[in-house]
């Protein structure tokens, strides 16, 4: 071992010598112009010195090797997703409380949006599920499967609780709804078809052969850039424009573009329970209709497939307020 060390050190000395020689030679040759010359570089060692060669009690440090997100943390994401949907259903259908629902959606925005940076989300998982269903060589982890199917199952029974309580993309738009105007019903309907076109395109691009495959929902996600504080400038601008428009037109992405919203709307048509407006013989004020920024109350009835679980209608209802005060 001692020999090996000596040899290595010796070789290192040799390696250092040409450097010194070269510098010296250059100094001799041209007194003034030495600093303009670059080194003629030669690798001083042929093998990496090990702790024994280095001496002085040196220990080779471990290579930085951060592991992927732990499995239990991924499962936690799914559990939180399920729990948040459960709480949203309870808050809206049983408690009829908008204030707590806003709290829940802000917590979801903080966790699923800014902490998890928008990934994974059911909207993008449409593509992975599509590919995994069709391509025999492609498969997805169980957590992704759960992320995709859980909100659909909840929608099948209670409506779009995911949109109101959990979705970070929805929550960030919900924050900016300041002065919503009612969009003409016909226009709303026509624009509503866009999300099915988008869904079709997303499936079309996801089903292309592996090398040509494209995940358009993720690539054109307008808000993920804000969550990550980084991303393609044009998509961050698109997100900013959507948020600016969202001040006057409630949640434009959710209503007209979100492909997963389209799937949830289909499931919600079959929902067992959902937001309901109880007919009232004495008071037919329509305050709830005016309060709904999403055009989801038509002729004093809730249109469940369009209802985004924001509970504004309950909040605006004078009867509901009275009831709360009594109990």
């Amino acid at each position: 071992m001692k020999d090996g060390k000596g040899g290595l050190r010796g070789r290192r000395r040799q390696g250092a010598c040409p450097t010194a020689l070269l510098v010296g030679l250059l100094l001799c040759l041209s007194a003034g112009s030495v600093w303009g010359q670059a080194l003629e570089y030669r690798r001083p060692v042929e093998t990496a010195p090990q702790p024994d060669n280095i001496g002085g009690g040196y220990k080779t440090p471990a290579v930085q090797k951060p592991l992927p997100r732990a499995y239990w943390l991924q499962v936690t994401d799914v559990v939180l997703l399920a729990a948040a949907m459960g709480v949203a259903v309870w808050l809206v259908l049983a408690r009829r409380s908008r204030r707590w629902l806003v709290g829940l959606s802000m917590a979801s925005l903080a966790y699923f949006g800014f902490y998890r940076e928008g990934c994974i989300c059911p909207i993008g998982s449409i593509q992975n599920v599509t590919v995994a269903l069709v391509d025999p060589k492609y498969s997805i982890p169980i957590v992704v499967t759960a992320t995709f199917f859980l909100p659909l199952c909840v929608a099948l029974f209670f409506g779009r609780a995911f949109c109101g309580g959990v979705c970070a993309l929805g929550a960030i738009q919900e924050l900016v709804v300041i002065r919503p105007v009612q969009v003409p019903r016909r226009l709303d309907r026509v624009l509503g078809w866009l999300k099915y076109v988008y869904l079709g395109l997303a499936v079309f691009y996801a089903l292309k052969p592996a090398l040509a495959r494209d995940f358009v929902i993720c690539r054109f996600d307008p808000f993920v850039g804000l969550f990550r504080r980084a991303g393609a400038p044009h998509m961050i601008i698109a997100g900013g424009v959507l948020l600016a428009a969202g001040m006057f037109v409630g949640r434009p992405y959710c209503r007209w573009l979100c492909p997963y919203g389209g799937l949830l709307a289909w499931c919600t048509r079959l929902a067992r329970r959902g937001v309901t407006i109880t007919p009232d013989k004495e008071l037919d004020c329509g305050l709830c209709r005016e309060a709904c920024p999403y055009g989801a109350i038509e002729q004093m009835r809730a249109v469940r497939r369009d209802c985004l679980y924001c509970a504004r209608c309950y909040d605006a209802c004078p009867r509901h307020r009275t009831l709360v005060q009594i109990t």
Partner: protein, 196 residues
């Protein structure tokens, strides 16, 4: 408003049940073929910055420019067990820069000054060239531009520095934007267990 189930209720239950069954079937199919997590990683044997034979060409910095993560999720990582601990490290110094006062190149290579150099082991106070030096890459400063990787490989270096995807930074995009741009197809997907 009776408790008797109406025809409409029954139809609703049947429809709901069948959709639920379809969803469960789809989920079951996917769970059945599921595997563990898949991650993106740089294949050092394909990456132009680390693969042998490409010398004297400018380093490829697509990992820096294409990644969606700030500074990029790809960082240069020094595998110390293969590091030569050279006195004049071609990845630390810009060896084409003019020689400075102490015989070292006058400029550093890293544009973000992310590499730290310190003498290690038994010191020789007489001759600094006879000491070993450890080169630690500050992963918080590194943006994976690949300049040091290109210089560290043979014949100038021993190839201990390579570009690696940092899984704590990588958001595991469906289609990694670097992999899309990489002309060498060096950014590949592999099971987390096999990833280095």
């Amino acid at each position: 408003m009776s408790d008797e189930p109406t025809r409409r209720d029954l139809l609703g239950t049947v429809a709901r049940g069948s959709v639920l069954a379809a969803l469960a079937g789809g989920a079951g199919f996917l769970v059945n073929k599921a595997h563990g997590q898949i991650v993106w990683q740089v294949d050092a044997a394909r990456c132009i910055n680390s693969r042998l034979g490409e010398t004297g060409v400018p380093a490829c910095n697509l990992c820096t420019t294409e990644c969606v993560v700030p500074l990029s999720a790809v960082r240069a990582v020094n595998d110390y067990s293969h590091c030569g601990r050279c006195n004049i490290c071609p990845a630390y110094f810009n060896i084409t820069s003019p020689v400075g006062e102490h015989g070292y190149p006058s400029r550093k290579l890293c544009p973000r000054d992310a590499i730290l150099r310190k003498p290690i082991g038994k010191m020789d106070p007489e001759d600094p060239a006879n000491n070993f030096y450890e080169y630690v890459i500050d992963e918080e400063k590194c943006d994976g531009c690949g300049k040091c990787v290109m210089q560290c490989k043979e014949p100038l270096g021993l190839g201990s520095i390579t570009l690696r995807v940092r899984y704590d930074k990588c958001v595991n995009c469906n289609r990694c934007s670097i992999s899309k741009a990489c002309p060498q197809k060096a950014v590949i997907q592999l099971p987390a267990g096999q990833a280095v």
